[in-house]
Amino acid sequence: MSELSYRQALHDTLREEMLRDESVFLIGEEIGVFEGSYKITAGLLAEFGPRRVRDTPICEEGFVGAAIGAAMLGLRPVVEIMTINFSLLAIDQIVNHAAKIHAMFGGQVSVPMVIRTPGGGGQQLGASHSQNIEVYYAHAPGLKVVTPATPADAKGLLRAAIRDDDPVLFVENLSLYNTKGEVPDETGRIEIGKAAVAKEGRDITVVAYSRAAVIALDVARRLEAEGISVEVIDLRSLRPLDRETVCASVRKTSRAVVLEDDWLSFGVGAEIAATIQEGAFDYLDAPVRRVAAAEVPLPYAKPLENAALPNADALIKVIREILDDTRYQR
């Protein structure tokens, strides 16, 4: 066990996987000479050389397509798209090609590719650079979409993603890069599609992922001091989605709220709410609630940006409302 930042965990895992497997290579904008916009690939060009750390022009569709081709021919590309916002330029390659090739060619080829990309607002990067659009990809069969919230999960899931034979969208979050946490030293993988019970609790289930899972855990600890026992489910993977862990939790607590950084309508919370009513309907004592981003292009102005993003206070307010509505007693 050692304490690492989320950033360091990603860096270390990339390096370990590159050392372990010659077929693993990195490709993306400014990842080599500049060592990455967020310095995840720091030092890797120097260590592994330009053949395995490929700087590209600003052409997302082109380099994602190149990575798909490389993956089909046996390499294991790890693509960095500078932010998830720019993935939209490559969405045809991702959704129409990477996700479908295995099925459309009768299973003859796979696309063992990872696309690492950070999302998230709160950095005053403006509306077009602050999005949480992972749900666009989680909607598409054939892709896997993982969303680690902790350094340990960043490591375990990235390792699993690189070794997975399907295309994996690996969603990071700008506000998590500097967060620290204990990371196991052993080279274990985290099973993709398995949610974590980040904290056990009795009274209410909070379902979250990525940055929201960190907030949820913080809220759970704060409410614990009041005697309110919050269970936090960190989805970790949006596709495949671990519906059973979510439903099992709600069957225990009878109350649920989803905290999500994406927009409310058609968001991850909508899918979770549907999952809960399908799998735990008879256990619900109150409607499933959602706390999500305001349905606006994220404002640049700091006070407005803060107001538009879900936060701990908003989650606490909704938790209290649900508890009140169900006559919760300590």
């Binding site: 309508s265 919370g269 981003a293 993003l309 009140d324 169900t326 006559r327």
Partner: protein, 420 residues
Amino acid sequence: MADIIMPRLSDTMEEGTIARWLKQPGDQVSRGEVIAEIDTDKATMDLEAYEDGVLERILVGEGSTAPIGQAIASLAGPGGTPAPAATVAQAPASAPAPAVSAPSAAPENPAASLGTSDRPVAPTSSPLSSPLARSLARRHGLEIANIVGSGPGGRIVRADVEAAIGDGRAAVAAMATPGPLATPSSGAERAGDDVEIVPLGNLRRRTAERLSISAQVPHFSLTSVVDAERLVAFRGEVNRGLDDSTKKISVTDLLVKACATVLRGNPEINSSWDGDKLLRYRRINIGLAVAVPDGLAVPVVHDADRKSVREISAESRALAERARQGKLSLNDIGGGTFTISNLGMFGIDQFTAVLNPPQAAILAVGAARSEPIVRDGAVVAGTTMKLTLSVDHRVLDGATAATFLAELCATLENPLRIVV
């Protein structure tokens, strides 16, 4: 820190509803000080603090209901620092309730607020229950329609079902309620322009529950016609010269005394069924059914056999007044052994009263009317009054009840027996 629990404030109370908190979190309270008003099935009672301290948290908000023994607030020791009272349960009515008819979560103006899904609002026209409440009720064989909800818009939540399981009340009510009435959707289907939905008050609900229990008791009723001429004349004589109309005695006052006197000689009537035994009451405490705005109250004249008619009259008057104001005390309503329901003042000739459990008998009194009667072989103008005694057949048989009713009639026809 100590929990303040819902106390037992009457002998039939199963739960209480917080009518009002007189203290708020952070307030100092001293022993004996009234901190809340609690609606029980019978009356609104004051809740006094049992010790000094600071009211730390309110756990059951105004309008919410808690079973006996459940913590409703917590008290920190004197001078203790109260915790932030953020989880105070709100009464359902105070929930911030945007009026939407469908569970649409999309705000009209999405830019206006954080993208939090709306707190769903229950339409008030249908009885609502959470899926958990329904499945829990099903597992325990309870009829969900007989459980009163405390969630938003009256939604029945787990806590309500658990309370019902705890006191077995809904099970009894489920048996007592005929099927069609129990259909939860019936109200919703009929709600509309033609039907107004009237939410149940605590007293109305309790009245309904008690009478539903009563309806399960095997019972019969007996009617006698009393020649009331002398009774009416006697009352007139007693009241003659009384300028103060508030001191005049009523027919009911005389009936209370008459019943008490006859019950003394027929103690088997003054009793009740108790599962595997009978309870025969040594005291004679006569309840008087009084109509109050939201239901029925039955204040009790205790030891009526040992009180004068004048005392009974004054006491009944005061009790009826307190009943109408909802100010009956525990002592006012507890311990009844026999009940009189008089609808004579409404011009009713005769009716059958529903038993007031656990009492074995209740007397229904009709109006005193001028009627042709046969006296000494001749039809003459007289005054009659019809008395109907309803009886718990588990406790009493026809002959015993008939003997009591005959003696009561004889007493009323010779009113001096009432007072001597």
